[in-house]
Amino acid sequence: MVMKTVYVGMSGGVDSSVAAMLLLEQGYRVVGVYMKNWSRDLPGMKCPWAEDLADAKRVAVKLGIDFLVWDFEEAYHDKVVDYMLDEFRRGNTPNPDVMCNQEIKFKLFYEKAMAAGADFIATGHYARVEREIPLFEEHIFRRGKYGATEPRNDGREGAFREQRVFSLPALLRATDENKDQTYFLYRISEEALAHTLFPIGGMMKPDVKKLAKERGLHNAYKKESMGVCFVGEVGMKDFLKEYIDIQPGEIREIESNRVLGYHEGAVFYTIGQRHGLYISGGLPYYVVKKDVANNIVYVSKNLNSDELWTDELRLRDILLRQFDGDFLRDGVAFARRYGESAPHTSVVTSGSPQKVPSELPSHEIQVRLRHRAPLIPVKFDGEVLHFDEKIKRPASGQSAVLYDGEICLGGGIIA
């Protein structure tokens, strides 16, 4: 058997370190790669990249694997940072991690790794890939499971399944529900996912830590990786100040339109936010609306304000995942062939969003509106999410990620 090569994205943290170690134990040829996406220090904040790099390299050396540094700074700036700043300027609250996965880790890194001779890429994400055909088996590269005359799963009449294709794997939620990161991964391409391994996706975080300690990788024991690729929650305000021209403006009460105070810049505020209004006394105020054009932040004391609650959410940039194949879960085979008469058909390929036939979501699916937020039952008509009960309105620019049980169906950006 030819030894398969995996390029592992190593951040220096415990998750990707254990991922690399597990792959090595599973018999892969493993190459560690540190993706250098951002190295600029910000005022009062030292960018940890060099330390992270050294930590990642130390682990690679201990494992005895090759280690490379790939510089994606330019692309990261163009695809992730610029996107993020544009969104903020429009008054949205973007999620750069989603974009980083879509454009950098599961695109640039994937492409570069494959070009370098990788069979797979891997990361330390908590997520799982469900493939109908086990890895390493010879027929993985043979014709599709349903034979040469099987209709393609893209719904085109008369088209035939090509030979030597992967069946499209599904993205599944992690075993450790508390750490599940599919919220950040729902936009990665099917092609990349088909070549991706998530070695720790089936593990519980405490077990990952324990394993790291047992195998002497406890130097990879560090702070949890930060919420945002490079700035962290705390640093976002300072970061935006560096890049966006910010003017102070009025804080008005939505009911009375009275000016209650002043803010540093509307872009800093998120709907539903409670802090940082510099208004003293009495009940707390909540941000209920932002008028970015006029730089006004509207607040309300009323937690039941209509602005804060909704039973509908319109999505944009919708991306529904395409996957097919018979998956075996808990000994029971079930078919998921999206594009045929599966429970809810979505025939949209990554990057070319199309409307989902409206009759298809026959049963309720779930949506997640923030990383680690609970799953909420929802109906989706292809453009708008419909909730049975009112939910607290999430910030525009964040992602709404759809699930059918543990399968990630894709999602969209909250308009």
């Binding site: 040829r29 990249w49 060099a50 330390e51 050294a54 390299k57 050396v61 001779g117």
Partner: protein, 409 residues
Amino acid sequence: MIYLDHAAATPVDARVLRAMEPYFGEKFYNPSAAYLPAKEVAADYEAAKGTIAHAIGAKGADIVITAGATEANNLALSAVSLDGSCRPFSSPTSQGSVGDPLHGRHPSMLYLVTEHDSVRRVAERYGGQGIEVLPNGMINMEDLRGKLSDEVELVSVSLANNELGVIQPLAEIAALIREVRLDRMRRGVRRQLLLHSDASQALNLLDVNVARLGVDLMTMNAAKVYGPKGVGALYVAHGVRLKPVSVGGGQENGLRAGTENVPGVIGFARALELAHEHLNGNRKKYAEWRRILLSELEGYELINRKHCLDNFVVLCYNGIDAERLVFLLEERGVYVATGAACAASKGVRSHVLAAIGLSDSQIAGSLRLTLGETNDEAQIHEAARVINDVVKAEWDRLSGIKASHSWFF
């Protein structure tokens, strides 16, 4: 554990620690206070400064205590443009009169290209120009001579480089500086010319007499000589004007306000005393250990061949990634540095190794071993053995990769 990174940090000598201890407890008083016990502490502090000064042939009044070498370097370089002729960043028209030969010309300074960042980064602010080094790391005197224009107010050359241990001919440089000063006087050019030297790495291994070296400003650091971290000193020759690090209560001749770090200075003084007692013995010992390493290590290229501190061994394993060696050695309990520890952790190539003309792959393969008081001869033999082992393993791994590649393609 075998620690071979004494240029990065040294443990505090037990005798130093003992000397410091009372000043954390029973002698905790603020030296500025009026009552007798505080005055005694003040006296001890001044005596300690005297000891530090004595070690370099100076008087206590010439010493400004700082929080380490970086601060001392920053303070030293503030001398540029403070002789009253002009100020940094001011508009050219505000400088001097029209008849002045320097009218409209900014002051500047020179520094050796291999200086530590705490000199280089400050020098950049003053429009500093780098002086080239020769391939052996020594200053290029011709380059210095050529760059000593009338704008230059200060020249900064470390006594011994922190990455290579190369010792610079300070006395020779000082002689040239004196020559230029005289020439300026003859021509009526009224601009100061000062010589600063960062002696942090050499304090316990070389003669650091300021008169013999001919320096006007000299940086010292306790942490490199088995004293506490966060304590340094700047020797300031009489008449040199500096810009205060901090203002407030007027301590350190008004150059660095703030309550004195009494235990730190007591420790620094004791560390320097000990260093002087053992100066010659240590040099002989380190020279012998260096010889052992060079004869027992295999397959290396020696980077710092001569004119260097006896405890510095800088090697290059061309084709190997030395940072991998650091991690492999760490697993075997041997602690070493690649180039400069600081440079490695910042993820940038060493500017020092580049300045002496090493190729990228030579720089990547460079290992810095700095010997010191935590070592003994048995450790040196053992270190050589472990390093040979690890280097061989790394070569094996690399040839394995090559073999597997040739199998694939």
